[in-house]
């Protein structure tokens, strides 16, 4: 990752690292060790990524209470590794649980940008899927997918906590199928997963 903005004062042997890096990479590829490591490590990292999905502690409207109920003791989402963090840097899933008004459009895009790759977006509830009961309003965007690429849609107003946990299950199935690739590298043919219609 040769980012030119580095002002490391330490020894910066970018050129040497690049050369050595390429040579060893070629050697590993030739000896097929890269495949072995790639496949085995890929399985372990895929397991790690899908078993610990940290959603962002972001409550917009009513679905936020269902998100809290899912985190509480009756529906306990933490059984599946869902642990709510409040800083976007430490989250993988942006759980959008309410209508996106024009005023909140660019803060939520900034939140999405702050999250490190690989990241996913779950649109929870009618308001984030299509504006919900407020689709005619002058101040509401018709769905989060107008501004953020969405991976899993959970219909319902509000969806029951079981549906939210099933949404996380759908996301885990997606990760096991496609792998934890960064959000911009995902194949275009990815049809949105709508729960309950298959």
């Amino acid at each position: 990752m040769a980012d030119e903005g580095q002002n490391y004062s330490m020894f910066n042997s970018r050129m040497l690292v690049d050369v050595v890096g390429d040579v060893t990479d070629e050697a590993l590829k030739a000896s097929r060790i890269k495949d072995i490591i790639g496949v085995l490590a890929g399985r372990v990292f895929n397991w790690g990524q899908r078993k610990s999905l940290f959603p962002l502690h972001l409550g917009i409207k009513c679905c936020a209470l269902e998100m809290a109920a899912a985190g509480a003791s009756r529906f306990d989402a933490e059984r599946f590794g869902v642990f709510f963090r409040s800083s976007p840097r430490q989250c993988d899933v942006l759980l959008v649980n309410g209508p996106i008004s024009k005023k909140f459009a660019d803060p939520i895009v900034r939140l999405w940008e702050q999250m490190p790759e690989p990241k996913w977006c779950i649109a929870m509830g009618e308001c984030s899927i299509s504006g919900g009961p407020y689709f005619q309003s002058y101040n509401i965007l018709e769905g989060v997918d107008t501004i953020i690429p969405v991976d899993v849609y959970i219909p319902g107003c509000p969806p029951r906590p079981e549906a939210l946990i099933d949404g996380f299950d759908k996301l885990r199935q997606k990760i096991i199928r496609i792998g934890a690739v960064p959000s911009d590298a995902r194949p275009e043919t990815e049809a949105p997963l709508i729960i309950g219609d298959e």
Binding site: C62, L65, A69, A72, P99, I140, P158
Partner: protein, 378 residues
Amino acid sequence: MAEMWISMGPQHPMTHGLWTLKVKVDGETVVDTEPDLGYIHRGVEKICEARDFTQITTYCDRLCYASANTWSHSYIYAAEDLLEVEVPERAEYIRLMAIEIQRIASHLMWLGAYGPDIGNLSVMVWCLREREMMMDLLQELGGSRMHYNFPRVGGVKRDLPHGFAQRARAKLKLFLNRIQEYEALFDESTVFLVRSQGVGYAKPEEMVNHGVTGPNLRAGGVNYDIRWAHPYSVYSELDWEPPVERSSIKGADCYDRYRVRVEEMRVSASLALQALDKMPGGADTHHEPGDPMILAKAPARAPEGTTGAHHFEDSRGESMFYIAGGGESRGKQPYRVSIRSPIFITIPFAAKCMIGYKVADIPAIMGSFDPCIGETDR
């Protein structure tokens, strides 16, 4: 340390919802605050002008999502005033019970959110466990977990389901002795007392002038309550007393607001139990949906020039609906619906209360006023 503006941004664990509090901080003490609302403004008043009277109840459920029933009832009473409908006695008792159970669920949601604000996570999970009990009861009445669309103009569409009274009594009695668990976790922990007593003072006269009502006002030692000042429903038939807290000299602080809400949960539980006992026709009889015992015939159109207004004691303060009739499609839709949100008026007051306290007190003070941003931004 030079004074600097911190913006406790739209996404922040302290805000129970989406709003920004810009705080000018000098070191650790708060010098000036400025709230910025409107992040989930969705123009409900404009949308209601294109809906007819029964469709609007769904929007009023979704105003304050922690206490959906109280808000839909607040609208229904205003609509009944507009359409001049006489509500049968049994429907009033069913409504009162539904409102009081919803008030308990709303206060439990507040207590669950107030715990993590001051740092204790297990309170949230305990309170949500009890709230699930209350939501089960309301789910039997309304059909879904959070937004019930339960009242109709002129009464209640469905009567109590079979065996509801017995289940409700069992759950409410179990809840009454679960409150001791929360009080043990809060009142007997010196850390909570030190964190909440003496923080966020507010005097009753100042609160009334600022438009703050409800539990926040009663915490100041004044027993003003819309349910007896501007009576509605059948509160006059039941034996109850609005809980009042003996505050400190300088006014009501976070500890008083916490005490008042815990007492109010007990009063609401006893009100719901009394409503079940005194239900005309008995709580175990079951009428068919739409039976005149529970639902009166209501006109669908409001002619031009008629108005309806109702002040309602919501779990966060006084909520009010003012409806002007005579809208489109020959009066089937209202011309103008105006909604008063208690928290929309309380947040600027709470922001002023914080001046002089530490940064760490901001969630304690803001949390004690029980903000619910859904109703604030309408």
